[in-house]
C-alpha cells in the first residue's frame, strides 16, 4: 500500500499566543508528540474553536519545534475568521491539531550555502528552515520581504540562529531596501555563492524566485499554499500542477522542487 500520512490527531494546550507584529501573532502550543515528529517545512492543521459553523482546520507552518519542551511555535497572519479566532485562544486553552503534514524542505542537492527568501508570513517555515540548516551546519543567508516596517517579523530569530547576512526589503521603504524580495534576489545570486534557494511567500513572488533561480541554474524549493480540507491526502482539494500531473500539496508538498511546479 502507498504510504499514508504520518499525521495524527494531537491534543494541544496553548502556552502563549501574542501579537509580534502588525497583524501577525505567535502561538506556542504544548503538543509533545507533534513536537517530536515535525521536520522543517512540514505543516500542521489546527482545529480552531469558537465557531461551530466553521469545521475546516487551519493549516499552518511552524517556525520552531522543541522536542525537549514538547512545544511547537508558529507565526500566523490574521487574515480571516479562522485566524482571528485562533488569535483569541488564551494560555491554557485546548484543542487539537493534526500533524505532521506533508513533505518538508528536501535539501536533496546537498547544498553548501543556502539562500532563504521569505515574503510576508512566508517567514514562518523559513525561520524553521534556518534553525534546521544551522543544526545541520549548512551556512545560509536570507532575504526577508515585508509590506512595511510594522509587519516585519523574523529578523531577530534569523540572527539568533546564525544567519550570515540578511537583506530586508519593504514595499514602502520603511524597512531595509524599498522593493520586493525578487529585486534583491538577482544581485544576491550573481555572486554564485548559493547552490540552493528555499522560498515561501505569495505565489507570484515564489514563481518569480523560481524563474530567477532557473535562469541562473540554482536549485530552488518552494513551499506552496493551497486551500486544504483534510491535510492528509484524502480529498484532492489542495493540488499543485506539476510536470508529473496534479500533486496534493498536503502530501507531495507543501514543499516542491520549483522546477517541478507548473505555475
Amino acid at each position: 500500500m502507498p504510504t499514508p500520512s504520518a499525521a495524527r490527531i494531537h491534543e494541544f494546550e496553548v502556552v502563549s499566543n501574542t501579537p509580534v507584529a502588525e497583524g501577525i501573532w505567535s502561538l506556542v502550543m504544548r503538543a509533545p508528540k507533534l513536537a517530536e515528529g515535525l521536520s522543517s517545512g512540514q505543516f500542521m492543521s489546527i482545529a480552531v474553536p469558537g465557531d461551530a459553523t466553521q469545521l475546516v482546520r487551519v493549516p499552518l507552518s511552524f517556525s520552531k519545534a522543541d522536542p525537549v519542551k514538547g512545544t511547537v511555535e508558529t507565526e500566523y497572519a490574521v487574515v480571516g475568521d479562522g485566524t482571528r479566532r485562533l488569535s483569541l485562544m488564551r494560555p491554557g486553552d485546548t484543542s487539537d491539531v493534526l500533524g505532521p503534514g506533508g513533505h518538508g524542505w528536501r535539501l536533496e542537492s546537498h547544498p553548501r550555502r543556502v539562500l532563504l527568501v521569505a515574503g510576508g508570513i512566508g517567514i514562518t517555515p523559513i525561520v524553521s528552515a534556518a534553525r534546521w540548516l544551522a543544526r545541520e551546519g549548512v551556512e545560509f543567508d536570507a532575504i526577508v520581504g515585508t509590506k512595511t516596517v510594522n509587519t516585519l517579523w523574523g529578523f531577530d530569530e534569523l540572527m539568533s540562529v546564525g544567519v550570515q547576512h540578511v537583506v530586508i526589503t519593504s514595499d514602502d521603504g520603511t524597512a531595509g531596501d524599498q522593493g520586493f524580495t525578487t529585486d534583491a534576489l538577482e544581485p544576491a545570486l550573481a555572486g554564485g555563492e548559493y547552490d540552493l534557494v528555499l522560498t515561501c511567500g505569495p505565489e507570484v513572488m515564489m514563481h518569480k524566485v523560481a524563474d530567477i533561480c532557473a535562469a541562473v541554474g540554482v536549485a530552488c524549493e518552494v513551499s506552496m499554499e493551497r486551500m486544504m480540507t483534510c491535510g492528509f491526502g484524502a480529498c484532492a482539494t489542495c493540488v499543485v500542477p506539476t510536470r508529473s500531473g496534479n500533486v496534493g500539496a498536503c502530501m507531495g508538498g507543501p514543499v516542491f522542487d520549483a522546477k517541478e511546479v507548473v505555475w
Binding site: 504520518a6 469545521l55 484524502a234 480529498c235
Partner: protein, 307 residues
C-alpha cells in the same frame, strides 16, 4: 444482552455493519490506515475513477461556508488502471478482511461509463460493488447533467447493467429523486446512494468572483443533512431496492436518522476530512443507539420512523 447484529445487505453488497464512506472524502482507503484499522467499517467507497485519468479542475477547489464546504475537485482521478496499480493490493487485502470495497465509477458520457465498468470488471476482483456516479456537480459533461432527469439516469444504467453481474449502486443527484429512483430501479440498479453534494455558489463580494475556480461547486456537510434525510425517506418509500444514505453525517445520531428514514447503510463524508477518526466513532455511537433501542438487529430499525 449480546451485541446486536449490525450486518446489512446493500443490494448484494454484504456489509458487516452499516457504515460506509462517501466517495471523494476517503481517497482509496489507505489514507486512513494511520488513524485506525479501516476494515472495521462495513464498507468503503473509493474516489470516482474513469477509464482514463482525469486532472480535475484548477484551484481553488474548496471554500468553506456555514456548516459545510463547497468543492470543485471535478473528479480528479488516476483512472481505473491507476487505481488498481496504486491501491489494488491494499483494497484486495481490505476485502479479504471482510470490509466491502465499493468502487465508484465516473464518466463524461455513456460510452465512458461503459469503458470504466469494463475495466473494473477486468482489473478489480476486489470490488464488492460498483457505484455509478451520475451526479457530480463539478464536471462539464456527464455527472449531474445526466443524473438529474429520469431519462438521463436510466440511459446510463441501461447501458451498464448487461456489462456486470456485480451489484450496481447509483449515486444520485439531489434532484427529482423519486422519479429518478424509480427509473433506476426499473433499469436494474441494485441500490441507490442518496445524495451527492448539492450544487451551490459562493461569491467573494469584494472581488465579485467565485470563491472556487468554477462558478459553482458541490456543497457538503451538516448544513444539508436534513435535506438528505428527507430525500432518503422519499426514495426509500418509492422503490424496493435498498438505499445508502449520504449527507452531513457527523455523529451516530445522524447515521441513525438515515436508517430510521429507510437507509440500509450510511456513508460518512466530509466528517472524515475534518476529523480523520470520525467513521469508527460514528460506528460505535450507532451500535450504542441500536442497543438503546432494545433491538437485537439493526435491520429492525431500517425505515422504523413512525409518522
Amino acid at each position: 444482552m449480546s451485541a446486536p447484529n449490525m450486518a446489512v445487505d446493500l443490494g448484494g453488497i454484504k456489509m458487516h455493519n452499516p457504515i460506509n464512506t462517501a466517495a471523494g472524502t476517503y481517497g482509496f482507503g489507505w489514507q486512513f490506515e494511520g488513524f485506525y484499522d479501516v476494515s472495521q467499517l462495513g464498507a468503503i467507497t473509493t474516489k470516482g475513477c474513469a477509464a482514463e485519468a482525469w486532472p480535475g479542475n484548477p484551484k481553488p477547489r474548496m471554500c468553506e461556508v456555514t456548516s459545510g464546504v463547497m468543492n470543485s475537485v471535478g473528479l480528479m482521478n488516476p483512472g481505473v488502471r491507476g487505481l488498481v496499480e496504486q491501491s489494488g493490493e491494499y483494497l484486495q487485502g481490505l476485502s479479504d478482511k471482510g470490509c466491502a470495497v465499493i468502487c465508484q465509477v465516473a464518466g463524461h458520457s455513456v460510452d465512458e461509463y461503459v469503458a470504466a465498468v469494463e475495466l473494473f470488471e477486468e482489473l478489480a476482483p476486489f470490488a464488492a460493488g460498483l457505484e455509478i456516479n451520475i451526479s457530480c456537480p463539478n464536471i462539464a459533461a456527464g455527472g449531474c447533467a445526466m443524473g438529474s432527469t429520469p431519462d438521463g439516469a436510466a440511459e446510463v444504467i441501461r447501458a451498464l447493467r448487461p456489462r456486470t453481474d456485480r451489484p450496481l449502486l447509483v449515486k444520485m443527484a439531489p434532484a427529482r429523486v423519486v422519479e429518478v429512483a424509480k427509473a433506476l430501479e426499473a433499469e436494474g440498479a441494485d441500490a441507490l446512494s442518496v445524495i451527492n453534494s448539492i450544487p451551490a455558489m459562493s461569491i467573494d463580494v469584494h472581488t465579485r468572483r467565485s470563491r472556487l475556480s468554477r462558478p459553482t461547486g458541490g456543497l457538503s456537510g451538516p448544513c444539508l443533512h436534513n435535506i438528505a434525510v428527507r430525500m432518503v425517506w422519499e426514495v426509500a418509500h418509492a422503490v424496493d431496492i435498498p438505499v445508502n444514505g449520504v449527507g452531513g453525517v457527523m455523529s451516530g445520531a445522524d447515521a441513525a436518522e438515515f436508517i430510521l428514514a429507510g437507509a440500509t447503510s450510511v456513508s460518512v463524508g466530509m466528517s472524515n476530512l475534518v476529523r480523520p477518526d470520525s467513521a469508527p466513532r460514528i460506528l460505535s455511537e450507532l451500535v450504542s443507539w441500536v442497543e438503546e433501542q432494545g433491538v437485537d438487529d439493526v435491520n429492525d430499525l431500517i425505515g422504523a420512523f413512525e409518522c
